[in-house]
């Protein structure tokens, strides 16, 4: 305690210099915390987005993910209802959504376009997708409508000049390799914010799609969990229970998430390294000057019996006081920014390939704050150690003669 007080007094010896080092450390800490918070927020958003889209755990026929089917549902799951019930009974499972991916041509009589569609159970699927899919008109397809209903992407609706209630025709290859057509009514127009997807999107009732494809199989079963963190555990259980089927997690399927994560980790990693250098530089500069100025005092303390290690320790404490104060100030800055952004309503521009921006928020992670504080204090201590070691081991007479 006495030593910390002593360190504090020495820090206050040259207030302006210590304050400068402290502020540099504070801004460095805040920059790392803010950018780290932004990266975490992005990861979390993408995680949620991807998991909402694909489901946390996806089960398919053993070759169902290979994408080399000759005809639709060649590698489909046969007893979908039985499997779904089995998965739904697993702990932590919120819902199981059967899906059929299909594609073909969509036509309004005058013109046709390619669509990429999903047959889904509307009551399950649209609830799970949540805010990710936004309806600009209409509602999800009804299961027992007189004519099969579909939701189409807003871009596709523009191409087809379709509105809610418009009749369109879907044309697709059946499981037997023939062409089949079905007349559908647009029940809703929606988008996921990715133009490439929204200009091909068709979501239809699962049963109607199965009728169109002449099959009672489903393509995949998407298992939605209550907690994203349970993903690996549930995936492992399903793999154990269904050795004949292929099981993937949202992470395996989330190409975009993985790419963004890799990119951000690199960008913010480099930023972190730069900050480490800046903090090291500021601290060693400030403490280095203090060491030079106090060389004679070091000599005095050494003469009256202070060990070199104790001299170094005193400087290390000084470094930790400055670094600690800087880290705390940085946390306050970053925390303040995190809270301020909640109310500021600032939007990020749309990411590549997307039509809508997203709100700029920072995630608060106690782990990140703790780790960064620890790193900053360690850096400060290391800088102090580096710059004081030499003077502390100087011959005492030499240190005393220093002017």
């Amino acid at each position: 305690m006495k030593w910390l007080v002593f360190a504090w007094k020495n820090v206050m010896r040259n207030r302006r210099r210590s304050l400068t080092a402290m502020l540099i450390t504070a801004f460095g800490t805040a920059a790392v915390l803010a950018s780290g918070g932004f990266a975490l927020y992005t990861y979390e958003s993408l995680e949620e987005m991807t998991a909402r889209d694909s489901g946390h755990v996806v089960v398919a026929h053993s070759r169902g993910f290979d994408g080399d089917e000759d005809v639709p549902l060649q590698y489909g799951l046969a007893d979908a209802t039985g499997l779904a019930a089995k998965f739904a009974a697993l702990p932590g499972v919120r819902a199981v959504a059967p899906r059929v991916q299909f594609s073909g041509l969509i036509s309004n009589g005058d013109k046709s376009a390619v669509f990429v569609g999903s047959g889904v159970v509307p009551e399950i699927d649209f609830r799970l997708r949540g805010p990710q899919m936004s309806f600009s008109a209409g509602r999800p397809p009804a299961t027992n409508a007189p004519a099969p209903e579909v939701v189409i992407g807003d871009e596709l609706a523009r191409l087809m000049k379709a509105r809610v209630g418009t009749s369109l025709t879907l044309l697709a290859t059946t499981t037997e390799g023939n062409l089949n057509a079905v007349d559908v009514v647009v029940s809703g127009i929606a988008g996921v914010g990715v133009p490439e997807i929204d200009k091909r999107l068709v979501l239809a009732d699962l049963a109607s799609v199965q009728r169109l494809l002449l099959s009672d199989k489903v393509g995949t079963l998407s298992i939605y969990l209550k907690e994203t963190a349970d993903t690996e555990a549930v995936a492992a259980r399903v793999r154990g229970a269904q050795p004949d089927q292929a099981v993937k997690t949202w992470r395996d399927l989330a190409v975009f998430y993985q790419a963004v994560r890799a990119l951000y980790n690199r960008i913010f990693g480099i930023l972190g390294v730069i900050m480490i250098c800046i903090v090291l530089f500021a601290m060693s500069n400030t403490l280095g000057m203090a060491v030079v100025e106090r060389t004679r005092e070091i000599g005095t303390l050494r003469a009256i019996g202070t060990l070199p290690g104790e001299v170094v320790r005193n400087f290390v404490f000084e470094g930790m006081v400055i670094g600690g104060a800087g880290a705390v100030a940085g946390m306050v800055l970053a925390g303040g920014a995190t809270v301020a952004l909640l109310f500021a309503g600032i939007d990020m521009p749309p990411p590549p390939g997307r039509s809508a921006g997203y709100p700029l928020f920072l995630s608060f992670s106690p782990l990140l704050y703790g780790a960064v504080t620890l790193v900053v204090i360690t850096l400060a201590a290391a800088a102090a150690w580096m710059v004081s070691r030499h003077a502390a081991n100087k011959p005492v007479t030499e240190a005393l003669a220093h002017v």
Partner: protein, 226 residues
């Protein structure tokens, strides 16, 4: 402390400094014994080697040749860490320029050697209070050294040197920066306190009053004791 040994025993000490190409022989074989509680004055012209000898005596410098003992312990084979530990326990220093730590209060400066020795807090408080009383600075305990006169600062330094009851006190021209009236007080105080605590003192000085208080006056000329 073992009474059978002199506090300091120096045998044929040599020390030279390199200055560029040439070297200066500061001590040319100095032998000296200082008994327990003895106060020795070291006089001689400027450049005669007084400071060099004091530094060797006080274990803050190493000789080129010769032998040293402190309280019966041979020092020749000790490394810097062991020498530092010996200084911590047995040697007090008083400098010409006072050398107090400016950010520490008078109290903290005097307490510092006891912190190094790991003395318990209550015991520290008792001894610091007593030492400050002894040098007449109780009421200045919470001041910083900057707020003291030269004489007061040197009294703090004396308290700091003697608080751990060292076997040896090294004082290099302790009164050179003081006016003569103050110098007299400092001389009296150092003499009195060292005597009380049975500390041996080696003091380099040009000051006649200082030498007159000492048990022995040594004269150093050109690196040799006369």
């Amino acid at each position: 402390m073992n009474a059978n040994f002199p506090t300091v025993r120096l045998g044929a000490l040599r020390k030279s400094y390199r200055v560029g190409e040439s070297s200066v022989e500061a001590l040319k074989g100095v032998s000296l014994e200082v008994g327990g509680g003895e106060m020795v004055a070291l006089t001689g012209p400027s450049g005669s080697g007084k400071s060099t000898l004091l530094n060797l005596c006080g274990l803050i410098d190493t000789p080129d040749a010769g032998s040293r003992e402190l309280c019966g312990t041979a020092l020749d084979s000790l490394d810097e860490l062991s020498l530092t530990r010996l200084r911590r326990e047995k040697v007090g220093f008083i400098f010409q320029g006072f050398n107090l730590v400016p950010v520490m209060t008078v109290y903290d400066n005097v307490e510092y050697p006891l912190l190094l020795l790991g003395v318990a807090p209550a015991e520290r408080r008792r001894r610091v209070t007593e030492a400050l009383g002894r040098v007449g600075l109780e009421s200045f305990a919470l001041r910083l050294p900057d707020a003291l006169s030269g004489g007061q600062r040197q009294r703090v330094a004396i308290a700091r040197a003697l608080i751990k009851a060292p076997a040896l006190v090294i004082a290099d021209e302790p009164t050179a920066n003081l006016d003569s009236a103050t110098a007299r007080q400092i001389v009296d105080l150092l003499h009195e306190l060292a005597h009380e605590r049975n500390a041996s003192v080696v003091v380099a000085t040009h000051d006649e009053r200082m030498s007159s208080h000492c048990d022995r006056v040594l004269h150093l000329i050109d690196g040799e004791l006369q």
